[in-house]
Symmetry: C2
Subunit: 798 residues, 2 copies
């Protein structure tokens, strides 16, 4: 890449003034022939600027290059930053077309838009609730059927002997179901694996993860999660709801489905990243809300993960979607449970009603809670470290779909076997009283009228097990059972997370925490028999919060989700303390689970603030340069060459204009995106054609919206040799007022501007308004605070 | 103001490059004599730019001028925008001093800062909780004493006859107490009047309301609110808690008290608007949390009112402060109530525990809830309109302190009289059973073993009345009592809000709503006697939400506050629906109460977004111009003259630099604030002095922090005639990288940048980076959406 500044001179004075003129292109045909351009070897694009002093960026290479030139193992490394991810445009492209449309729109038009936003949010909530309802009922029915079959089999063989056949039945049944789920995920839509929370976090952060909000992903996700839960894996169905809600939102808000090839011609205004992001936030919130019956928690989750700018009406709409989602789920579940109108089951999981007498805690219990938080932080960190190693291993050796399916089946079989062994060797028999909460009490080797307590924990959907741990009478579990259960479930859950099945980590975490929390409570009561400590259910709740906090490290939203799921405000303070302690302790060792997985994908994720010690860096050091710039009136051939250049593969181009008659470097007058140029090329918006064909339809915003979001690649656009010589006038289409910063701006300041406004490109100019560099997401994301101060990630085309 | 562009030429090339050099001033003494400046009549400042085409701004005049030249009545008008309010600087001033400090600071330094932020938030929560506790206990004790005295008196005279003496006693007692409260507010600290919520909203929005976060204000507020509640006014003690929390935060976070003249030399880093704002948010949240036992609601309140940029750690800290505040209040109240360790009274008000069987609603009740929301919206709008007229009246005719005190006394007397009359003529006797919730049951003319039900509503603190309405057995109130009570209390509360006493409108609103809500429930049960409608307490709750929503129009935060105060998540959906309906209906007629009062103060309040139909406006039309600019090396006399110019009274000045040898207009190189210039002048940071006195201490950030936030006026700074000829080098002190926008930027885009980053000055530049205008808060706040489309407010120095 030669660092050449080419000179372009304009003879018309008009060009200079009208960087964002009043709707008509200032350049008429007569100017065009006067354009003189010096020939050069690098095509007719020109590049402004100098190489940055801290020149650490690698040359950006295309996918093919990187795959050829680099060993397969290196890419997935948390010290790398991938360049394959594009950013979303959360900054409106305020070009003339957009402004004209906005100016044409009446006040009533804006009101109608506002109303349709509410309608869309209502729909999102409703559909998300329906999906949650479907998942819940499907899991309930299928799991019920499975447990019934296995239970009968076990009961049959307990007396006869030969329980190994039961084990075999159980293991095969589980493996088969899990295999189904793993096959569709691994072969059809790998992005549907896991809980989807890291992916939604990235989306809301402004990163375009391919295929993450497609209809197909949703289908695979829903079917996959049913299989994993019914297959008895140590997973929950709550995490995937968040992803499902987001997909629903992205679909509904666009008023069309590309997969189904249907365009309903509605909500066309919302076909851009800015609007879509808002709806996806609402969808994610609706998902949380449906999963945990926590509408406020959902809103806070969306805000905590995604929002950079808080807007009252937006938040209110998100809350509306959340509420509708909970309400829909609640309503349909009440019909399913044959108690129509009883709206007391707001989420997929709810922690049940804590009795009023247990709904209190004492001041001297607070140190205990803090200690439990610390334990949760430690165990969470251990979980994360183990899962990190496992993930590294998986990335290196288990990347083929059939291997992934086999691993999932193996885990399913092992889970069944371990559970069975635990149940088999346990002799913790409990009386089977009338108010037991277990649906499938296993008698096994216990006396008549008793059931095996270990079986309660394993032989149940995890949601039910959590509830039993919270609410069962003191004395239901003996300490050994709980200890063993914690130990085995911890490793099983850790092994399971990251498999090619769609499933969440929330419920397993809660279950592990509830188990050791209850154990903690029992031991406390054993050491100092005070009446207040008799209620080990309270400690189970605190333990669950501690464990979950230690693994995912969410803060405010998790507190609120826990409080809402408990249905009781009083526990807010201890839960907050516990989550805070767990986060502090856990962060000392390793990051949260979602962040680890985001890092392992080398996603250029932007955190809340620039690293604290980065004030010595300025835009000059941070920016990418030289920058490929385009002229306001540019040759089609140049544009095609620029876009086709696989060695740069840029997505945004500053548009510059030369002061007529002067030989000074050109000044910034706008910014145009690859996607816009593609649409322009596709519609052949060339100056010459506009003159020859008078009837030529003027390009409208609708043309851009129709192409959104799957803009065709440049290779699919045919430009003839004659057309290459035409000129394109970008004036109308470029964003005439891109945000700029001077070169001396400190990194935190650049970061704040970039993050607060959700930018994709930030132009760095000198004091003459000439382009010297471009700051994009990767330039900011690559600085992070490591153990030894500020570190820089390497950029790689993974 | 002459529109003259003066020419300044520099001979040294060094000036151009080093707008933000590496710590040492680039200009040494030898450059200074070469500075040549053309003489002119307007002092030696120079102004760049032209008058904007839409030239609607009035000339900015000083306080004295406006008071002399303008009639007293005009200023308070919601079509005006006052120029007397300064903005806060929520954008860090990144000058060389600041950057040097940040660069010097180690990673551990930042960690320590982070820890001290947590400590400060903990302290804020603790102190706010203590204050809430103090207010609660004081009110409880004093009101108890008062009611006991009056009750005994009434009982004495009921049999003897001559209840007019009791009335007199009651009225005089109330008036006297209210007089006390009104005197301290009206004479000592008028800003302490009302709930303080509008003021805190403004502060968080970025407007400097004088004296609003001072210690004196807090003292008056606390004492005042005790007097108003004990004096039997139709007010609550909850609103003022928010203001109190904010004052505590502003005090604690600065580590010193200017009022007490104590500087603890701690938290010096926090002595700037950016940091202080975060703490004030935490304080407001802690206040809400203490008032309603709603820590999450508090966080949401702060965010809804104040935050423009959501930051995870900040929110988490705010939540911490809220939690500590609730916890402290709860803990000390539990000791006061002789049940130490029973943490079940989380707020000043709590709505009591709704019984589980009443904690449900049915699908067919939802239309009813929506209807109630609409009623709430209508009644709220009526309330607001009446209060608006009353406030206009008060501004015109009741602006002298003694008149204000007399009005407050009158209201107190009338409240007592009306209450007494209502009680006297009511014959709604109810049996006095063992589980009554009234603390002061008045028998009056009822039979033995019965009490007067109307008296329950009036002869009680409003908090208790609300709780009775929510929870008393069906049949406790007869419809006539409720109807009359609603009617009288509505007008009393409306009259009371805006008096010169410190008091809140939350509780009266809840009380009115609870009364008509309960009435609604009773009538429903009367029309269609279904069992589900027997529980009128549920309708009281919904009515309370509707009325409060109709008056204050808060959204998400109010929902969460209501849910948290109820202690029950199930009612979330109906409460949300009701608040939404109330807001939509109410907004159709008139704005929310707080917004009305903000508008009547002509405060330049920035809403969430620019008006929808403002895309046709650009920075060119919006900006103020010409702009007073300063040179990077400026004559002291010029600076003093600029600052002393009472006809402009600007607070921020773009700093420009001339390219040496060229006669082009100067280019922007920085921005400096009046406050910074004042500190520079005070410390005589002149180029000549620095050379002559070698030992002269270099000015540090500490000097700016010591002067914060009460910078002396320019008049108090003496500059001799000799010194006027000296030069000042602004390079080190100016913000070298101010945010800029091109002239063509649309208003919504300017607005978004301004609002998202919390700016105070936004420089508008042309494509040569020359200053053409300056956008400040008033330029953006003056456009609003009226009945006839986009309207422009007039600017006035009120």
């Amino acid at each position: 890449m030669a660092n050449i500044t080419k000179k372009v001179s304009w003879s018309s004075r008009a060009d200079e003034s009208g960087a964002a003129g009043e709707g008509t292109p200032l350049l008429n045909g007569s100017d065009q022939p006067r354009l003189s351009r010096q020939p050069s070897e690098g095509g007719s694009i020109f590049q402004i600027g100098r190489l940055s002093t801290v020149d650490l960026e690698e040359e950006i290479t295309s996918d093919e290059d990187s795959l050829r030139g680099r060993p397969k193992e290196i890419p997935h490394n948390e010290k790398l930053l991938s360049l394959k991810y594009e950013s979303l445009d959360y900054d409106n492209i305020e070009n003339q077309l957009f402004l004209e449309e906005e100016r044409r729109m009446s006040y009533m038009g804006f009101r109608c838009l506002e109303i349709s936003r509410w309608v869309v949010c209502g729909l999102i909530g409703f559909l998300t609730g329906l999906i949650a309802c479907f998942i819940d009922i499907a899991v309930e029915e299928l799991a019920g059927f499975k447990y019934q079959v296995v239970k009968e089999n076990i009961e049959k063989f307990t007396e006869v002997g030969g329980l190994s056949i039961s084990l075999l039945l159980w293991a095969v049944l589980n493996s088969a179901i899990v295999m189904l789920g793993a096959i569709i995920v691994a072969f059809f839509e790998p992005i549907a694996a896991g809980s989807g929370i890291p992916q939604i976090k990235c989306y809301l952060n402004g990163i375009k993860i391919p295929r993450v909000v497609r209809l197909k992903t949703l289908m695979v996700k829903v079917f996959g999660v049913i299989c994993s839960v019914v297959g008895g894996l140590a997973v929950g169905k709550e995490g995937p709801m968040i992803h499902s809600g987001a997909v629903v939102a992205a679909g509904v808000s666009q008023g069309r489905s590309t997969s189904l090839k249907r365009d309903f011609k509605i909500f066309e205004y919302f076909r851009r990243d800015t609007e879509k992001r808002d709806f996806v936030s609402a969808g994610a919130a609706a998902g949380v809300s449906a999963a945990f019956g926590a509408p406020v928690g959902g809103v806070l989750f969306s805000l905590e993960e995604g929002a950079s700018f808080w807007n009252q009406m937006l938040t209110w709409r998100i809350f509306f979607a959340s509420m509708i989602s909970t309400f829909t789920l609640n309503f349909f579940l009440s019909i399913y449970h044959k108690k129509p109108g009883d709206l007391s089951n707001p989420g997929l999981i709810n922690f049940g009603r804590f009795q009023s007498d247990s709904v209190t805690y004492n001041l001297y219990e607070i140190p205990l809670f803090i200690a439990m938080g610390a334990i949760g932080g430690l165990l969470g960190a251990l979980f994360n470290v183990l899962n990190y190693w496992l993930t590294i291993f998986r990335i290196r050796y288990v990347h083929r779909p059939c291997l992934q399916v086999m691993e999932a089946m193996l885990v399913a079989a092992v889970t069944a076997t371990v559970s069975f062994t635990m149940i088999y060797f346990s002799d913790d028999c409990q009386p089977l009283d009338s108010e037991h909460t277990e649906e499938y009490p296993l008698q096994l080797f216990c006396a008549d009228g008793e059931y095996n307590s270990m079986a309660t924990a394993f032989f149940n959907t995890p949601e039910r097990s959590v509830r039993s741990l919270f609410h069962n009478q003191p004395g239901t579990y003996n300490p050994l059972t709980l200890g063993l259960f914690t130990l085995t479930y911890f490793f099983l859950a850790c092994w399971t997370y990251g498999l090619a099945v769609s499933a969440g980590v929330f419920i397993p975490s809660l279950l592990i925490g509830a188990a050791w929390g209850r154990l903690f409570g029992i031991l406390l009561a054993y050491i100092t028999p005070l009446p207040i400590w008799a209620d080990s259910g309270k400690y189970a709740l605190i333990g669950a919060a501690a464990q979950l906090g230690g693994i995912v490290r969410m803060t405010l939203s998790l507190t609120v989700i826990m409080v809402e799921a408990t249905g009781n405000v009083t526990y807010g303070f201890p839960i907050m303390l516990v989550l805070m302690t767990a986060k502090i302790v856990g962060d000392y060792f390793v990051e949260g689970l979602y962040d680890i997985h985001i890092k392992l994908q080398s996603v250029p994720f932007l955190h809340w603030e620039a690293p604290a010690t980065s004030h010595w860096l300025t835009a000059r050091e941070v920016m990418s340069s030289p920058v490929t710039c385009l002229n306001r009136i540019e040759k089609v051939g140049t544009i095609v060459d620029t876009l086709s250049n696989t060695s740069t593969n840029h997505n945004g181009f500053p548009v510059v204009v030369q002061i007529s008659g002067s030989d000074e470097p050109a000044k910034l007058c706008g910014l145009i995106l690859r996607s816009q140029l593609i649409v322009l090329l596709k519609h052949k918006v060339f100056v010459e054609l506009a003159r020859s064909r008078l009837t030529h339809r003027k390009l409208q915003l609708k043309d851009f919206r129709d192409a959104y979001p799957r803009f065709p690649p440049i290779q699919s656009i045919h430009v003839s040799q004659d057309e290459r010589e035409c000129m394109m006038d970008l004036t109308e289409f470029m964003n005439a007022t891109p945000y700029t910063v001077p070169q001396e701006t400190s990194l935190p300041r650049v970061f704040k501007l970039f993050r607060a406004l959700g930018l994709r490109h930030l132009v760095v100019v000198d004091d003459e308004n000439r382009v010297v560099g471009l700051v994009t997401r990767k330039d900011l994301a690559r600085y992070h605070l490591g153990k030894h101060g500020l570190e820089e990630l390497q950029l790689a085309q993974t």
